[in-house]
Amino acid sequence: MQMPVPNPAILARKAAIVAALRAVLPADAVIDDPHETRAYECDALAAYRTQPLAVVLPRSTAEVAAALRVCHGLGVPVVPRGAGTSLSGGAMPSQDAVILGVARMAAVLEVDTANRFVRVQAGRTNLAVTAAVEGAGFFYAPDPSSQLACLIAGNIAMNSGGAHCLKYGVTTNNLMGVTLVTMAGEVLEIGGPYADAGGLDLLGVICGSEGQLGVVTEATLRILPKPEGARPVLIGFGSSEGAGACVAEIIRAGVLPVAIEFMDRPCIRATEDFAHAGYPDCEALLIVEVEGAEAEIAEQLGLIRQIAMRHDPVEFREAQSEDEAKRIWLGRKSAFGAMGQINDYICLDGTIPVSALPAVLRRIGEMAAAAGLQVANVFHAGDGNMHPLILYDANLAGDLERGEALGAEILKLCVEVGGCLTGEHGVGIEKRDLMGAQFSGADMEAQMRVKDVFDPGWLLNPAKVFPLALSAARRG
């Protein structure tokens, strides 16, 4: 993965830059000791690492603004960071950039169940948002699998999804307002505890802009009343095609499950060895979860069973107890960990039209065989958001590069069938140079013009999202 050559003039001024940051921030909020900054050298795309120039960890919006004003004044790039769980390198530093981490800003500012929103500092973890409102019977819906660790700031930057977004939508559908600090250090309130924008929907374009338009320090989030209950079923199939057809028919039938998850044989085998969830030995399985009161669950599962039976399932397992429900989810939730035990892997997240699932799965199998690599599939089938895991061996010279090349081909396939490069992980550095497969020059130019407005000097997270050659002139 290519990164721009660090600006030697900035590297040479490191001491002055750190001193200027120390002048406006508390002593413990500025870190420049290379031993301590090492913790920030990468995010969850851990194959790529670089030491940042320095790290600042402000505790308030005012401190964020002060830090940004200093960096803006000195022309120093800034890489915003949540918990560093990005799978696409969204928080990956560069040697000439200051990391601005918001993890110390984790307070709950306001809980308002009558108006169904919560306002939090953006450094709060996703799961802790729900924790703040569940006593009152509410929850925050987007649930990325890293929800124990990942921060709302990062969720907003990447427009994160999760298993349950089939019913509840992704971050942008649950975000009502933000406090945004621009690169120039200006503090703006955009949106709030009411519906829709009064003018242009700037909130809509800020969400998912990968930390390139501003630093979000506070967020107003929509919360929902908790459903009375939820229950998963596990359906095993003799073929991926059968599972894919079943998904399409469930969606068509008007049942709206909260989640439809898919795993193929390589993934089922690996997770069984790891988690012993008791999954059937079959080509593909679906986990379908429905919500509601007892009678409502029974009604939906009755329909799902009818549909599933038309597709020759090898097994239809309905959870009879809380414990069985947990076991059904156990394998799915340990899938990534299980794959990590047996191999290094690259996790893709291209989205395709649901109707293309069977054909794309078949084609991925052929491509993997031709590349001499194994691919396991585990993904959100209801919305077509795939997660092919390409297995490789980091200790084998050239294996990572072979895996990346296969990954690029698979993502191009996703675009060819009408889908996109990334459904929920973001572009970051990982898919930056594939953007041309999905967008024309004019498409990308239009997006870059938005950044020109928010950050004319291209100092915020500058080497991400857009192909380097395309953004070079703007990055200076």
Binding site: N115, Y194, D201, Q300, P353, S355, C420, D443
Partner: protein
Amino acid sequence: MVMRPRDERELAEAIRDSAGPLRVVGGGTRPVCAGAGVVLETGGLAGVRLYEPAALTLVVGAGTPLAEVEAVLEGARQRLGFEPVRWGALLNAAGESTIGGVVAANVSGPRRLQAGACRDALIGVRFFDGHGEVIKNGGRVMKNVTGYDLVKLMAGSWGRLGVMSEVAFKLQPAAAAEATLLLEGLGAGEAVAALSAALGSPYEVSGAGWMPDAGAMLRLEGLAESVAYRVARLSAQLARFGAVRVERDGAALWRALGEVEPLQGLAGAVWRFSVKPSEAPAILARLGCPVVLDWGGGLIWAVLPEGVDARAKAAPYSGHATLMRGPGVVFEPEMPGVAALSAGVRAKFDPRGIFIGSEGA
């Protein structure tokens, strides 16, 4: 003068050759700056491009009449979840809404509070900027974080950033059953607490409004047994607010709410407030005029005499107020820093300033 491009090539030429001002018009049911500029009509950019019921996906020309879109979806028992509504009668405008007009004004009906707004259902867009250059964003899949989300920016842009030629939506299955609970004894101010209690329940309310004759209205949709269960539970829970009547066929009521029927034909200026719902009762008391409530009290429609500054009268409130029928559509001015960003975005997409749009004032 009226231009009516028949395809994208003609649209691009029309924009390139124009020195402005250009007023983009779909069905003309939400009149912006009526009378000004050269009209650019989108009716020639019509037709279903792709409809895949099993993927809940529709791609359609922006000039397609809303009625045609609805008919196509009804045939497969599907719908646009955000419940597009027609404001023509309220705004004294003839014509038939187009789907592009719905998107440009981000028009959402009662189901917005459960299913999200038009901007949430919109998953892709093709549009022509002020240079007449085509730009696509989003696509036809439900989950897509590839690059910046210009789709949201185009929804509610009121023709100020470019001319949309094609829009893509994620759809919903139509509900198998529905029921409406009516608390006919409640006044507008009293209704908000009842609506809020219902929306805080786990019974998945898909509409919560108030009209003068109907009182507080709550809609439940879904599978038949589930609706029956929730009707019973929610009725019991709301009994403390007054008598609850169950209406089995509420479609006309919800259409009337979406189209703001009780305020149609009243003389005066029509205002639309988007606020924090719990603030609604106090705002209503200060306004002291005919109103209709939607979105649990978060959306207030009000008719006031021409020339009255409704924002000053309603203040304080958190949210925004738009003058919908007066001299034209007039937005609430943004905070200076935000206004500067909006102006900057407009200047980038329309550097020659040829697209007329409503201004904040």
